[in-house]
Symmetry: C2
Subunit: 120 residues, 2 copies
């Protein structure tokens, strides 16, 4: 008796925490642009910062936010940090959004119906 498990498999962060972090990370255009850059391949912090009109420090902070959301990984090689895109967490966000797909496909469907019946 009283054998309820102590390790509750709390995945450290539950789904809501994770979605909070991911959506928050995506809610900034500079961070989205950083992800777009990383989609072209891994890159050093300085190179990532170069296209933006803000300080290296600001980019460093943005990368920390992305890292916390699991969207960026980092390999430290001497003094240079190589950052890489980790898109997997976006799948969670995408799935969450996809659950609402039927609510916006309706309009499209009626447009399709309209087009399909236009020959009448």
């Amino acid at each position: 008796m009283n054998v309820k498990p102590k390790t509750v498999t709390t995945t450290t962060t539950n789904r809501d925490d994770q979605l909070d972090l991911i959506f928050h990370a995506l809610a900034n255009r500079t961070r989205r642009a950083l992800l777009a850059l990383l989609a072209k391949g891994p890159s050093r912090v300085t190179d990532l910062a170069e296209p933006f009109g803000v300080s290296l420090n600001a980019i460093s902070k943005h990368l920390a936010v992305l890292e916390k959301a699991g969207l960026v990984s980092r390999r430290i090689d001497g003094r240079v940090h190589h950052c890489a895109l980790v898109a997997d967490p976006m799948a969670s966000a995408g799935e969450w959004i996809a659950a609402y797909e039927r609510f916006w496909s309706a309009r499209l469907d009626s447009f399709v119906d309209y087009v399909e019946n236009e020959m009448d």
Copy 2:
């Protein structure tokens, strides 16, 4: 010459502004829960607030954020405000995310390959 158009079709908010608003709106679990409620049908503000352990005012503010992002519409009928889900803007966010799908489908693909070749 010098006939460049003056009305640049600035849709008042450009795509980045819109994504900022949408992702920010989604980056809060209470607001996501509100959208989930509204997915079941339109609802009055008071009814929306009832399941949450926060003040009506807090919910009122969350609804304002969702409205600003275009995710909620409101029909005022006397003293009661009827809120409804407007999922369409989610499509933009979904499309943005979908552009990264190939970066996480890789893993899934190799799993599919593995399964498909398991008979060898």
